[in-house]
């Protein structure tokens, strides 16, 4: 088991409404649990505000859960020291929604892809950057270019190259294809599935689009307002949804 999320809750304190009343609390993620095996893909579906991105941020250890724990490859992420967490980070990487915002506009593509390698003090940075570029279908020369010289789909390939250059065991994809054209979406999804086979990646694939998730996931989890409505093998959830919300998502996706 590469990832185990157990009974995780995350609350946010909202701005105070009145001077003397306690500030209202938003429960972004309410008692969520999931497990992910090596090489498997788990899809998390839900509308915006469902807590799926907060869950992803907790899996990436960008923020801490208020309750529950998250184990990656046997390590409790929130019990690790800062240094140990940093050394573990190359093993779980993330790709983001906005291919225009996930690359620093002031840095060359090669520089950005090499970033995690520099932190790891890797010795063969150039070779590994070239390899990662090749794996996502880009050319060696592209490393010297800046992000604005690429299309949205190409940028997402660059972001994927940066995420896999450390040879991670887990890839978290938060709305990774939502900002792309439908035809480009298919290309990126195919690329992700190819890489998964090639590298044995486990993937946590987050989307509001059930059709996209259904096409690549083994397991499925449906969230709404922070709560987990249902979860299980993708085939089973899709064929016999037990919750009315899942049914409405299925109808919306045209299945």
């Amino acid at each position: 088991m590469i990832l185990e999320v157990r009974n995780v809750t995350r609350r946010y304190r909202l701005p105070r409404q009145a001077l003397l009343s306690a500030p209202p609390v938003l429960v972004a993620v309410d008692n969520a649990s999931l497990t992910l095996e090596r090489g498997e893909t788990l899809g998390i579906v839900g509308e915006s505000g469902s807590g799926k991105s907060t869950l992803a941020r907790m899996v990436m250890a960008f923020e801490r859960p208020d309750e529950g724990n998250i184990r990656f490859d046997g390590h409790d992420l929130n019990a690790l020291s800062t240094g140990d967490l940093r050394r573990l980070r190359p093993k779980f990487q993330m790709i983001f929604q906005d291919p225009y915002g996930s690359l620093d506009p002031r840095r060359t593509v090669g520089w950005s892809i090499a970033e995690p390698l520099r932190v790891m003090a890797s010795t063969d940075i150039t070779r590994r950057v070239d390899e990662a570029l090749a794996q996502v279908g880009l050319r060696q020369q592209d490393a010297a270019k800046y992000p604005h010289e690429f299309s949205g789909g190409q940028r997402q390939r660059i972001a994927i190259a940066r995420a896999i250059v450390t040879r991670p065991a887990l890839l978290v994809a938060d709305e990774a294809v939502s900002a792309l054209d439908v035809s480009v979406q298919a290309q990126i999804l195919n690329l992700l599935m190819d890489l998964q086979d090639e590298l044995g990646l486990a993937m946590l694939f987050i989307s509001h689009d059930l059709a996209v998730v259904a096409s690549i996931c083994d397991q499925l989890m449906v969230m709404q307002h922070g709560r987990t409505l249902e979860s299980g093998p993708a085939q089973q959830v899709l064929a016999a949804p037990s919750h009315p919300y899942t049914k409405s998502l299925l109808t919306a996706a045209g299945a």
Partner: protein, 271 residues
């Protein structure tokens, strides 16, 4: 893209002032300390382009040498105050929480503290000098840059490439250096240009009060203060340094405004 008018006018004025200052390092028409009492209050002619002052010193030479001093003071003060302020702003944004609150509240206090008062204090303790004028002007620049840098940095911190850098294992300081600083450079440079204008004015004010450059080092502010008693006898002695101050302050102010319009289209004001 069409360049804004303020940028062009500002650039021309700044080029003139900087050109005069640079030229004075190599050459001035006359030695600006050369006294020639027999030739005092000379009218402009081929030798003395703008005439001479009450001690017979060439006005053009003094004005260009004054430009050099004003630029040097403004540059040193803005560089010093700008780097400290930017570093504090970056730190506040990187750490957040009570550290950010503390830094920004101290900046508020610094804002409320009049530069002139601080300069008088420095002069009282260490004696009036150009160095103390630089320190005083640098000091008032720190909170300005701290605010600008923090506001811009907080915006950059929300970007996904910063999250990617965190996922790569970079700590906050490495992220500040590698990603935040390069991406807030534009607003900070714009602010520096505007603060340059403020610094020139501040230097002139301090020198006018005798808290800046000491004789015989010529600065525009000191020329003004010396000309003050001669206002009815020789008003041109006050007019020329005054015009120089106006040109330099307007030049850097307009250049800064124009740069902001070019680098940040969202801030272009309605005209």
């Amino acid at each position: 893209m069409k360049l804004p008018v303020n940028l062009l006018i500002g650039a021309v004025l700044v080029a003139l002032v900087l050109g005069a200052a640079a030229l004075s390092l190599l050459w001035t028409p006359h030695d600006f300390t050369q006294l020639n009492v027999r030739n005092k209050f000379a009218a402009p002619d081929a030798t003395y382009w703008l005439g001479t002052d009450q001690l017979g010193r060439d006005l053009v030479s003094q004005l260009t040498a004054g430009a050099r001093n004003s630029m040097a003071v403004a540059l040193a003060a803005v560089l010093l105050g700008g780097s400290i302020g930017t570093a504090l702003g970056l730190l506040a944004a990187a750490i957040g929480g009570w550290v950010e609150d503390l830094v920004m509240r101290i900046a508020d206090i610094g804002f409320a503290f009049p530069a002139l008062l601080f300069a008088i204090m420095l002069a009282a303790v260490f004696g009036p000098s150009l160095t103390n004028a630089v320190l005083a002007i640098a000091f008032i620049n720190i909170p300005v840059f701290a605010r600008v840098a923090r506001a811009a940095a907080n915006q950059v911190w929300t970007r996904e490439y910063v999250a990617a850098a965190r996922a790569a294992g970079l700590n906050r300081f490495a992220i500040s250096k590698d990603h935040i600083l390069p991406n807030i450079a534009a607003p900070v440079i714009v602010q520096a240009t505007i603060e340059f204008a403020v610094a020139i004015l501040a230097e002139a004010a301090l020198s006018y009060l005798g808290l800046g450059a000491q004789p015989p080092s010529p600065t525009w502010g000191r020329m003004l203060s010396e000309a003050q008693t001669l206002m009815y006898q020789a008003p041109q002695l006050a007019v020329y340094p005054g015009l120089c101050i106006v040109a330099a302050v307007m030049g850097f102010g307009l250049l800064g405004d124009g740069l902001r319009d070019v680098t940040d289209p969202r801030l272009v004001r309605e005209r």
